[in-house]
């Protein structure tokens, strides 16, 4: 155990990797733009500067802790430096805060207030650059970029894509894709993780809020909404509800007040996915071909695999994602009831994810020429809509979902975290409700926050090998190993975002380590509280297989092989 003196107080430390983390642990919230514990240290923003007893000023994020160090975090010199840095950042920043999408959650705005910057003495002589609106998922506004490089490192280190990087130098420096290409022309998969780390409004969501308000106001349209598993543990963030708390009931009530006709659970869609994916897995196991089976729920992962590893395209499950299965089901039901109900049915999904916005527009997600899901709203956008409607989520009395698609199993709920899809499929395959069996599955290695997890389970006389991956950089690692013949799996689950959908690109920010933990715990709590643990024991699942789905399982729940040949 070593110690250092911070602002005349002794603080002990052990193996912290830098001085900044010790300062923060000691209760001082030193500001930063470019520091994220999961990314490499960049040391560019200089907000975390500290001073030692000899007056040397250095960035605490890039300093290795030494025993007996004496540092000060708030001397007049440091205050002056920090304010000056902020003032200079603000000088070349488009300061339209009141109309900015990041208003209220912008770190630049927050720190300017916190550190008392009241005046910007310098002129903005930066050239205004055009916005990139080409992606279905995110909007890039280079004029709001402060060059912290968080997006650059996230895209490269976590997602292994490296779509964005710095270009040019000095005052002309900007963050851009290669050759200043539009995002739509790059291999961007739309995961939105760059948006989740961006401290300003330089990368924001592509919003569909006004589109949805418009259809809600149309009396001849019946707007059905579905709520993804990871939304319920994040929606409370901006309403003062405890982090990670399941606010589903409140959300349902708020959605009804906003004007959605019926409110359903994507977890139910996830239950259908479990049914279909398990079936497909067993078929492939039996035939011993096209193994491993890759999960298909995460659209960023599917796009990644298609673009970067097309040779594995056939390994991706033909199952549609839960939101698409659900959308197809609702639309089919509406087509069947067209004579009774003349209203037009539209499906809106509330998702933690930006990539889902692109998923709904893929050609295979149209049934009989009709788009299965019409709009995707991220948790962040529905938060905005609830606020626009003047509803305080914390004060709303919780309500139950509509029937019949409002009942879901615990297996459907855990789709929101890494390992959840595998665990749900395993429950179906083992097909046992006994507490010991459920516990045994949860201990196979599918749970946890490691980037790559391996699990083995005995199915009959076959030992099934599973890999659970989160983060696309890790996915690339696994695929490379498989290509080289160094690893073999029967089933591979990939979620593009670290920790899974709970930390998706459309979730309310900031998403720090504590928030992630709270949301993760929240999801497992929902599963713990669920009376039905297995998707096949969901009574509504049985009903729809005997009803709407009968004879149409493939049409509604799968992508046909012709659909995938377009890639």
């Amino acid at each position: 155990m070593s110690y250092m003196t911070i602002n005349n107080r002794k603080v002990t430390f052990t193996n912290e990797k830098n001085v900044l983390s010790i300062i923060r642990k000691s209760g001082i919230d030193l500001p930063t733009f470019c520091y994220h514990s999961e990314l490499s240290t960049y040391g560019a923003c200089r907000m975390c500067v500290v001073e030692d007893e000899r007056g040397r000023v250095f960035a605490s994020c890039s300093e290795t802790p030494r025993d007996g160090m004496t540092i000060y975090t708030n001397t007049p010199k440091l205050q002056h430096h920090r304010k000056m840095i902020l003032e200079l950042l603000l000088a070349s920043h488009c300061r339209d805060c009141t109309t900015c999408a990041k208003n209220g959650v912008c770190t630049l705005q927050k720190l300017s207030r916190q550190l008392g910057v009241r005046e910007v003495r310098f002129e903005n002589n930066k050239k205004q650059l055009p916005l990139d609106l080409t992606s279905e998922c995110i909007i890039r506004d280079p004029n709001k970029c402060i060059l912290c490089g968080d997006c650059v490192r996230t895209c490269d280190e976590i997602q292994g894509l490296g779509i964005l990087d710095f270009a040019f130098r000095g005052s002309k420096m900007q963050v851009t894709p290669a050759f200043n290409k539009d995002l739509a022309e790059t291999d961007c998969v739309g995961c939105g993780q760059c948006r989740a780390v961006c401290p300003t409004g330089a990368i924001t969501l592509k919003p569909n809020v006004s589109d949805v308000w418009k259809i809600l106001s149309d009396k001849n349209t019946r707007v059905v909404v579905q709520i993804a598993p990871a939304v319920r543990v994040a929606i409370g963030d901006k309403f003062g509800i405890k982090k990670g708390e399941n606010a589903l009931g409140r959300l349902v009530a708020a959605l009804r007040r906003i004007g959605f006709a019926e409110v359903y659970d994507t977890n139910f869609g996830a239950d259908l996915t479990v049914m279909e994916e398990s079936k497909e897995f067993l078929e492939r196991l039996e035939a011993d071909e096209s193994l491993p089976l890759f999960t298909s729920c995460c659209p960023a992962w599917v796009t990644f695999c298609e673009k970067k590893y097309p040779e594995f395209r056939r390994n991706i499950s033909s199952c549609r994602s839960p939101q698409e299965m659900f959308g197809a089901l609702i639309k089919e039901e509406a087509r069947m009831n067209a004579e009774k109900d003349t209203r037009k049915t539209m499906v809106v999904s509330i998702m933690p994810c930006t990539a889902k916005k692109a998923e709904i527009k893929r050609p295979e997600h149209f049934t009989d020429g009709e788009q299965d899901v019409d709009y995707v709203l991220t948790t962040t956008e529905i938060t905005r809509m609830i606020q626009e409607a003047g509803i305080d989520l914390a004060q709303v009395q919780p309500e139950a979902m509509d029937m019949p698609f409002g009942i879901a199993s615990g297996a459907g709920a855990i789709f929101g975290v890494t390992g959840g899809v595998s665990e749900a499929v395993l429950r179906r395959l083992v097909d046992s409700n006994r507490a010991e069996d459920l516990e045994a599955i949860s201990f196979t290695g599918v749970r946890g926050v490691d980037s790559i997890k391996e699990a083995t389970i005995q199915l009959g006389d076959r030992e099934v090998k599973i890999a659970v991956v989160n983060g696309l950089q890790s996915a690339a690692e696994v695929l490379d190993k498989m290509k080289a013949g160094e690893a073999y799996y029967d089933f591979v689950e990939v979620m593009a975002c670290k920790r899974g959908c709970i930390a998706g690109g459309g979730q309310p920010v900031p998403i720090g380590p504590r928030t992630k933990k709270a949301r993760l715990d929240g999801i497992y709590k929902i599963d713990n509280m669920a009376q039905i643990k297995l998707s096949n024991q969901n009574p509504i699942v049985t009903t729809v297989y005997e009803g709407i789905l009968k004879g149409k399982e493939h049409k509604l729940l799968h992508n046909s092989t012709e659909d995938v040949s377009h890639v």
């Binding site: 490296g162 990087d165 710095f166 851009t176 894709p177 290669a178 050759f179």
Partner: protein
């Protein structure tokens, strides 16, 4: 898309340096020497061969003033505008050359692909100020008139 011969040349240059990430700069320098500019398609190609993200390679290539994605003229004239040359009146030389060649700050290369005119911050030959180079040949103690004459000479050559 460039003709295959460009990619073959790039392969040759990559092979001479080894397909390692650290060789990116020497490789694109050699490509630029070969074609007098760095074709963007080849930068992407080299990045792919070396296992570097395209955006990272673009980052490197745009960081250095020396790399150009625009084809350059047969004669590349670099006028030094470092402190010593500047005070000894390099700007009038630059302006003369702009009008002589019909170029401007935005348009660096002549239509006939004969001349490219660039300014550089310092050529490290302050004793010879004001100085310019044509394809790395140094012309010391220049004047606007001497510059005009030089252009006529090069055109005749």
């Amino acid at each position: 898309m460039l003709e295959q011969i460009y990619y073959d040349k790039a392969d040759e240059i990559i092979a001479s340096h080894g397909a390692e990430q650290a060789s990116l700069i020497p490789i694109i320098q050699d490509i630029q020497t070969e074609y007098r500019y760095l074709p963007s398609e080849l930068l992407s190609y080299v990045a792919e061969q070396l296992g570097i993200n395209e955006a990272k390679a673009y980052s490197v290539a745009t960081f250095y003033e020396n790399f150009s994605f625009e084809p350059k003229g047969k004669y590349i004239i670099k006028i030094c505008d470092g402190t010593a040359c500047h005070v000894r009146k390099s700007i009038p030389i630059l302006e003369r050359l702009y009008s002589e060649l019909g170029l401007s700050k935005e348009k660096a290369t002549t239509e006939d692909m004969m001349f490219t005119l660039e300014t550089v911050s310092c050529l490290g030959a302050c004793g010879l100020a004001p100085v310019l180079t044509v394809n790395d040949k140094v012309y010391p103690a220049m004047t606007p008139d001497a510059a005009t004459e030089l252009i006529h000479e090069l055109r005749g050559a």
